[in-house]
């Protein structure tokens, strides 16, 4: 028996394949500042990834899923679930996941659904996939966290709300690149950030998004999963926390006892922005790209509304070989075309043309 609250399947589950996707356009935060703050001033550091005109969560999920499938080296027809978590599903009604499933050849013998839980919709899908595979119902389940994040023009969110995410194919631990030891989910009703139906942009509680929301949920989830497994920060080679900005994950890592070194490989926010449902998951891909076999990883997502999903993973011997079967996350980050605010406004549909 595991301790109350911990999520552990009957059959051991691992990540059989993973893949990232980050679009090529970059908007420097200084460009947002130039328009909304101080035309002559020096803007904040960092930049965010912006999807091109022909991209959305469906197309980005397809590419991430294809990367995951390349590394998994399994037949797509053996997938039994395709789940996509996002705040930016292109349709209000009509699943993103069916398009993705069709594109990778997983149809028709598969479950497909879209998930919504703010920035943790993707890890929510991962947790469900653990259950799906771990129960023996399925051998493989694909969970994706992907976003083309929304931020109202001029809002603090606009500096970081970026585009990107990752796909994880979960399957039997024997075939995995990383085993998933255990997971845990910490949830309360905390309205720190939300978007009402039919609204274009989310609203947030400013400083209320900090202590009672982000910090509380991530800390509780991380502490619980570590204490329940008798582990402490030094037992992990890497830790990845949801990244709404640079400061929050740094601060929560420090307060939990993690060093800057442990979080640096999974920290992408200053280079691609906050990719909402993709944020923690794409951070994990960057870690898997560099980790050695046998290393332990702590992953904690955060979704407004609010909750945190925590996972403990251990990389396997199969990782170094198979990760070369698809583009690594760094290649996507390095492929960049800087754009100005006008181009960004156009790409994001913020120009009124009709």
């Amino acid at each position: 028996m595991t301790e109350a609250g911990l999520l552990k399947p009957i059959r051991d589950v691992g990540i059989v394949g993973y893949g990232a996707y980050i679009p090529r356009y970059r908007l420097p935060a200084s460009e947002v500042a130039r328009i909304w703050k101080d035309p002559a001033g020096v803007g904040p550091p960092g930049e965010k990834a912006v999807a091109g005109l022909d991209e959305d969560v469906i197309t980005m999920s397809i590419e991430a899923a294809r990367n995951a499938m390349s590394r998994a080296t399994i037949d797509a027809s053996s997938i039994r679930a395709v789940w996509v978590g996002s705040e930016s599903h292109p349709y209000a009604v009509k699943p993103t996941s069916t398009v993705v499933a069709e594109a990778i050849g997983a149809v028709p013998n598969t479950q497909a659904a879209d998930w919504e839980f703010a920035c943790k919709a993707g890890t929510e899908a991962m947790q469900a996939a653990i259950g799906f595979v771990g129960s023996g119902m399925a051998d493989y389940a694909l969970s994706i966290g992907m976003d083309t994040a929304q931020g109202r023009p001029g809002d603090a969110l606009e500096y970081t709300a970026g585009a990107g995410g990752a796909a994880f194919l979960l399957g039997p631990v024997e075939e995995s690149l990383a085993s998933i030891e255990v997971s845990y989910s910490f949830t309360t009703d905390t309205p720190d950030f939300f978007r009402r139906a039919n609204e274009k942009y989310p609203v947030h509680g400013e400083r209320f998004t900090g202590e009672p929301a982000y910090f509380k949920h991530i800390s509780m989830a991380a502490e619980k999963i570590m204490s329940s497994t008798n582990s402490s920060p030094e037992d992990f080679s890497y830790a990845i926390f949801h990244q709404p900005n640079v400061k929050f994950p740094q601060r929560v890592a420090k307060s939990l006892g993690f060093t800057a070194d442990q979080i640096k490989d999974g920290m992408l926010v200053s280079r691609i922005g906050n990719t909402y449902a993709g944020s923690a998951m794409v951070g994990l891909t960057a870690v898997l790209d560099v980790a050695d076999p046998g290393e332990r990883i702590l992953l904690v997502s955060y979704g407004s509304g609010a909750g945190s999903d925590a996972f403990i993973l251990t990389t396997t011997d199969q990782l170094p070989q198979r990760r070369n079967l698809a583009l690594d996350t760094e290649s996507y980050i390095k492929r960049r075309t800087e754009i100005d605010y006008a181009t960004y406004a156009r790409y994001r549909g913020k120009l009124v043309t009709k």
Binding site: D54, E55, T59
Partner: protein
């Protein structure tokens, strides 16, 4: 609103599924059921690798209806590694100019939408191959 004429082509459009002639091995895209090479029945499905090179290309600045919001965009005839030519947009071009012969790879992207309320139509485009 138009739905079925796009839906029925999903497999071809999303992942370049064409055909291979069981008689002469000729690869067909778009699928056409009769091999143009040997005239025999050719219905075996074949998924193309998506790798190819630019045969020719141009830029569209005066777009037909449904594509106005994408201008200027680049259209190409791409020669797939397996042989066939295919007409498709190029995307994510970056700073390097496209040339005849530029290696490209298939990506699935939004082609257009059927008005504001109609379906989103996804299909193949090509981007310069990652120099990974």
């Amino acid at each position: 609103m138009e739905v079925s004429r796009h839906w029925r082509l999903n497999k071809q459009r999303y992942s370049l599924v064409g055909e291979v002639c069981p008689h002469c091995e000729h690869k067909l895209f778009p699928p056409r059921d009769i091999c143009p090479d040997c005239g025999e029945d050719a219905r075996d499905l074949f998924e193309f690798s998506g790798k190819g090179s630019v045969y020719s290309f141009t830029t569209v600045s005066q777009a037909p209806a449904g594509f106005e919001e994408s201008v200027p965009y680049t259209v190409a005839i791409v020669q797939l590694d397996e042989g066939p030519l295919v007409t498709a947009q190029l995307t994510d071009l970056g700073d390097k100019p496209v040339e005849i012969g530029t290696p490209v790879e298939m990506v699935t992207r939004k082609l257009r939408s059927d008005g504001d309320q109609g379906m989103l139509i996804y299909g193949y485009k090509f981007r310069p191959a990652f120099a990974a």
